[in-house]
């Protein structure tokens, strides 16, 4: 019987793990941390909900940890460290996880944090119609939750699932005061009436404009440096940059490539980047019908595109190329895939000739049996970010020029996009996922019954590898399983064309210190570590 040792959280770094670790920004100019001051931070996205249980936007993650905390959090090596927990233990069969909780913690509404509170959160998550996506995906293997004593709680699983740890460290796993869960006016929308245990308290929400947090004076550890922090919603990147350069805000997140020169060229400002966790931004080939049911066409499409050139053109050298569906910062990433495919127009043309697409029409597109080699990419307007529609146009121009492939790009409303996907009226599906554990993303994307399996792939070998990966408790074993999986879907089957690793950027005045990226997730961290030099 092998036992995982009970991890004792003692070091201070672990306490602030939510915001510490990798990706500290250049804050030398801001000197030593000082207390006090009010910070204004312009963010791109207004969260559609302020209830962490309902969390669905990676761009909103930096807000969650200001006033909420979860039981565990990630370290920068893909492992887990306790946060509201003081330690955890998994049973040898992987079916039971026992978590010891911190004592003496209270929610900002005065409620005591204990095992009952944690259970109340789980019960709420499983309530009918409350959080269907959490219940159906993250908690699908959860059998029951037991309160062992006031500071111990036990999660019983139906089948071994290491991703339960990922849940415990996710925003959806954040612990909300059970009192406020009962009393909140619009529970699913969240708001100032949801209380958490975090270093700040949300005290004002002006829809369309801003969120305002003030320091939680009774935080159990070192109080936050800032007295208050305001997050303003500025959708337009040019507006955000303008607001920063004209001094109206001190920090912005989301700095597109073309605007980065304005930041780096300004001595009073500083720019830093963090690569996100989860899956890389990739094109998924729909294998259920022609032409991508033919592996040769998939290979040819990848060969036809010189990803580096396209990224250089669109992102001006600021993007990190992805070689696998898993992001390069993930411990599960298979580095051996790098440089193994793509960027060979001659080979692309030869492959297409061999596959029967050997005629060209008047517009220069390849034709087979009178049908043009047309593939459709449907993008849903509300979810397009990072200038992916521009990237798509660049890809479109490139594959036309190099191999006569007709990539049709349409940016449509959510309903139209959903309908197109439902009816299979697409050949290319684009997606990136910001899950902290890449395995969770792959479950959705690659499994035969995966919720976002837009490849249309039904492969027992893939399903088997995914199941093994989810059950594997040893890190090395997991890494090995996912390497085999990546070799299968990227190298062997050419199912996916990875493009770039999504990243977040923070630009700030040099007076701001302590800005960090969240370990593993790679998104901007909370305001807990941030200070404003006088």
């Amino acid at each position: 019987m092998r036992r995982r040792s009970l991890l004792i959280a003692a070091v201070a770094t672990a306490l602030v793990a939510g915001c510490s670790g990798s990706g500290g920004t250049d804050s030398a100019a801001a000197g030593e941390p000082v207390s006090g001051g009010a910070l204004t931070w312009a963010v791109e996205t207004e969260p559609i909900t302020l209830n962490p249980h309902q969390y669905a936007q990676a761009k909103a993650r930096l807000l969650v940890w200001n006033n909420f905390e979860s039981l565990l959090t990630h370290d920068d090596k893909g492992g887990y460290v306790p946060w509201l927990a003081s330690g955890y233990e998994a049973s040898a069969d992987g079916l039971t996880y026992t978590v010891k909780l911190r004592t003496g913690v209270t929610f900002s509404d005065g409620t005591v944090f204990d095992a009952a509170a944690v259970k109340a959160n789980i019960d709420q998550l499983l309530a009918d119609g409350y959080a269907p996506a959490v219940a159906a995906v993250q908690l699908k293997n959860l059998k029951s939750v037991e309160v062992v004593d006031a500071s111990t709680i036990k999660y019983n699983l139906t089948t071994p699932d290491v991703l339960i740890l990922d849940f415990l460290s996710s925003p959806q796993g954040a612990i909300v005061s059970p009192k406020s869960l009962k009393e909140a006016k619009n529970l699913k929308a969240g708001g100032t009436d949801l209380a958490g245990t975090g270093p700040f308290v949300l005290d004002r929400y002006t829809p369309g404009q801003e969120l305002h947090y003030k320091r939680n004076p009774s935080y159990r550890d070192r109080p936050a440096y800032l007295d208050e922090v305001t997050y303003r919603f500025l959708k337009e990147s040019s507006v955000r940059v303008g607001a920063l350069t004209s001094g109206q805000v001190q920090v912005i997140e989301g700095v597109p490539a073309t605007d980065q020169a304005q930041i780096t060229g300004n001595p009073a400002l500083t720019l830093s980047k963090g690569l996100n966790s989860g899956s890389a931004y990739s094109y998924y080939f729909n294998v259920t019908h022609a032409p991508f049911d033919d592996i040769r066409v998939r290979q040819a499409f990848r060969d036809a595109l010189d990803v580096d050139t396209v990224l250089q053109g669109v992102y001006r050298g600021t993007a990190t190329r992805a070689w696998s569906v898993i992001g390069p910062t993930s411990p599960l990433y298979d580095k051996t895939l790098e440089g193994t495919y793509g960027g060979d127009a001659a080979r692309a043309n030869a492959t297409l000739d061999a596959a029967g697409w050997n005629n060209k029409d008047a517009d220069g597109y390849r034709v087979k049996d009178g049908k043009r080699l047309t593939v459709r990419l449907v993008q849903s307007a509300p979810f397009v970010r990072d200038r992916r529609e521009i990237l798509a146009q660049a890809v479109q121009a490139a594959v036309k020029q190099s191999a006569g492939i007709d990539l049709r790009v349409s940016v449509v409303d959510q309903g139209t996009a959903a309908a197109a996907l439902e009816k299979g009226e697409y050949e290319v599906f684009d997606n990136s996922r910001a899950d902290t554990d890449a395995g969770a993303a792959l479950n959705l994307l690659l499994a035969s019954n995966g919720a976002i399996n837009r490849l249309g792939v039904q492969d027992k070998a893939i399903d088997g590898l995914l199941e093994k990966g989810q059950a594997a408790q040893e890190a090395a074993e997991r890494v090995d399983v996912y390497k085999r999986l990546q070799q299968k879907v990227i190298a062997d089957d050419s199912l996916i064309l990875p493009l770039y690793a999504p990243a977040d950027q923070i630009a700030s005045s040099k007076k701001v210190g302590g800005l960090q990226f969240e370990p593993t997730a790679g998104v901007p961290g909370s305001a807990y570590t941030v200070w404003l030099s006088k």
């Binding site: 119609g129 369309g208 337009e236 507006v239 509300p382 409303d413």
Partner: protein, 300 residues
Amino acid sequence: MLRRLATGLVVLWAAATAAYLALLAAPGDTVDSIIGEGADTPLIRSQIIREWNLDRPALVQYLDYLWRAAQGDLGRSYLLQRPVRDVIADQIGPTLTLAVTAAGLGIVLALVLAVTTRRPWARRVSSTTELVLVSTPSFLIGIVLLSVFSFSLGWFPVSGDQGVAALVLPAVTLALPVAGVLTQVLRDGLDRALDEPFVVTARARGLGERAVLVRHALRHALLPVITLIGWLFGVLLGGAVIIETVFGRPGLGQVTLQAVTSEDLPVVLAVVVFSAFVYVVINTLADLAYLVIDPRLRRS
């Protein structure tokens, strides 16, 4: 008045119904819209259907909607998970501020321009400017103003709804085309009024040019402007969507855009009904204003 009220109600109902039908015909079903980019499994779908009562026939849902709407309950946003009434109420302030400021600015500008630019050369300069203003996409005006006065000169905040300074550029952007049109209409009205015999009579009494213009002609020139109030409302509300996007302002325009692209049916319907409501109210007010300015229409 009762008749007007009835007509107003019919317009409201027709607007709501038309929008309902339109959205029913839109591609993609409601469940897809609610799921968005998130995970999509049968379990999730069935929960959503149960939560929103989507398994009822469309007609029942429609009648239920009407029944609730009549009681002031506009439903809950699929996307934002909040009562639609709150969503609208939260966002109406900034839009109203913007629209009213822009309307006021536009009207004042138009009045001043129409009355002061009577000399041929001033008139030519002014009419050319008006033509350019009404022919330029307002977002372009906004973008240019933003670049010059905010990014480059730093006179005004870049965006948001932070006090009066932030209102200046968006209001000006929205007001300029309005002023362009109104100036044209006013000037035309003044020209027509000045051709009327009563103006000759007024001059023959020894009245100065300015007095003729302000005391007599202007009032007549205002009449066609009042018929434009309905149009003005459309420009302001429609313009708000674009201006709010350009300047990153909160408001109804943003809500509308978001609701339409993500097919947040309850919000879209509420915006439609609200818009029709404001239209009805504004047109009633315009009719009343007509009666105040033109007593000839006061009958019985």
